[in-house]
Symmetry: C2
Subunit: 326 residues, 2 copies
């Protein structure tokens, strides 16, 4: 594959080239990894376009697909180009990702100004996240104005999505009476904007109550230096009736504009690049455990540890000694 | 130091030897680490005594100190020997740990059948946890019947405490009306028994309501194979008035007895040993990043990554190549 040529075609915004480039960064083959690294490096030097990267988290049932479709269609109607990616470490098991079935977003997937890509199939969140981060950079180089990075609320996936996003949006459903709607405090603290969806029909008043609850909870959080007055904020939307989406987009743009002017936008991207550098190195170090000879050694020693024949510390010291750096 | 002799004195239950042995395992000096590993290995071979290791989590304000003192005094009054350890990664900053001030548990600290040890001073949870895990093994070898491992509810500390405990107890305070008492679902899923403290005076009815709420929430969780019928469970206690502590202890013993008979007790300890083996190895691999030459290389490259001069992936590849294992 001619990497320079592929890069030029991505920069020209060719969808097939973009899809092929993402397939390349998702590959775990060593030669593909090297080509992908070269491609990303080339593009980072040639590309000046900057998308707004929007992380979007929401558990199943909050209407995430409907929201992405309605929100995406609104953006493309304004002439903006929209890419949708996903971080879903469970996609391997389910045999397809949360975005694998494009019929979930039938209208958006047929829109020439939209590009939808399922989550890479990897069993570890770290692997999914590292590949998606590179796919985001590719979409940006391909001239997309908005890159939506979707995740389900499982474990640490919100954290890694926030580390590749300029904005982090939390999508919630109206809460029932005494229902346990446990949004973790850490997730709430990451959110720039909380959207309570399904503010339509019978659920409208429940959505407004839930929104008021979260607005109150957000006021209890300490103000962050990267936020202007009034952020983070909570608002209601109806993805079904396409209500409130324009207001949500206005608020996202206002926040981005303020952060750009204050230097927080570039500062956050610089911090994120350092974070991913550290992640890549940590992954590289730990990946040795998944390969021979370390893998077999760990299994053999692990069995002895479980039987109580050797203590965990002594066994670990043996491993480190074998690696020549105890 | 004569490690064999120290080990024999620990096995004989000498408190000063135990304190000295714990100081040894907490040391980060390489020669001390080697001696500590040898000591733990010796003791694991010579010791047959098995304590009940009880992990106890509770945020500040739930009355954890009062509970540990009352519960500990009840156990020592029954002739049992009780050790209290702590996992508190914040202890470095506060200049002393949550258990540093023994006046917090004045009666228990003067009890000859009790042994109280503050959290080791390390800035990383991983370091605190690995040392505390070894201290637990020392207390067990010293013939303590019950080892209480206390932690505050910060981040991942409950997880590591659960990985060194036979039972995991969550201590809660009565919840006020619309107060946000966010117990993370993951923490609740780890709990074997939830104790709602302060079921006394004005708070008694609130404690009973809170207990009923949590009992209801626990019923929604899937039954775990390691639990007999009726577990996990929630109950009220008053550490102040020393009410309900005997019932809590009975239930803990019943659970331990059942798990011993079903093989889950030994199975869990074997799994935990493998977990800590993996942790030690992962720590050993990542610890290289904190030492030269890697530390300086990471800083220099990190600065270039932040400026956008090199991509995170290429920079990480450079590090791995320098380590000779890309």
């Amino acid at each position: 594959m001619d990497i320079a040529q592929l890069g030029d075609r991505v920069l020209a915004g060719e969808r097939r080239a973009l899809a092929r480039a993402i397939t390349l960064v998702e590959s775990s083959r060593a030669d593909h990894r090297a080509q992908a690294a070269q491609l990303i490096l080339d593009l980072s030097r040639k590309n000046d376009a900057q998308a707004i990267r929007i992380g979007l988290s929401g558990t199943p049932g909050v209407g995430k697909s409907t929201f992405i479709e309605s929100f995406g269609m609104m953006l493309t109607a304004q002439g903006l180009r929209v890419a949708v990616l996903a971080v879903d470490p469970s996609s391997t098991r389910s045999g397809g990702s949360i975005l694998g079935d494009k019929t979930r977003m039938e209208r958006l997937s047929r829109d020439p100004n939209a590009f939808i890509r399922p989550s890479p199939s990897q069993s570890h969140l770290g692997g999914v996240a590292r590949r998606t981060r590179e796919a985001v950079a590719l979409c940006e180089a391909a001239g997309f104005d908005v890159v939506l990075i979707e995740t389900v609320g499982v474990g640490q996936s919100e954290t890694v999505v926030a580390e590749m996003s300029d904005l982090f949006i939390l999508l919630l459903a109206p809460a029932g009476g005494d229902e346990l709607q446990g949004v973790k405090r850490g997730i709430m603290e990451m959110a720039d904007i909380i959207l309570v969806n399904k503010a339509d029909g019978d659920l409208k008043s429940a959505a407004m109550r839930t929104c008021a609850d979260y607005a109150g909870a957000l006021r209890l959080l300490r103000k962050r230096p990267q936020d202007p007055e009034g952020y983070p904020r909570a608002m209601t939307v109806s993805a079904l009736e396409e209500n409130g989406l324009d207001k949500a987009w206005e608020d996202m743009q206002a926040l981005v504009t303020w952060r750009r002017e204050m230097g927080h936008f570039a500062g956050r991207r610089a911090e994120q690049a350092q974070y991913w550098f550290g992640e890549e190195v940590r992954h590289g170090l730990l990946a040795q455990l998944e390969r021979e000879p370390l893998k077999g050694m760990m299994q053999a020693l692990g069995a002895r540890v479980a039987k109580g024949e050797v203590t965990p510390t002594i066994a670990a010291d043996e491993i480190m000694a074998l690696l020549g750096r105890s």
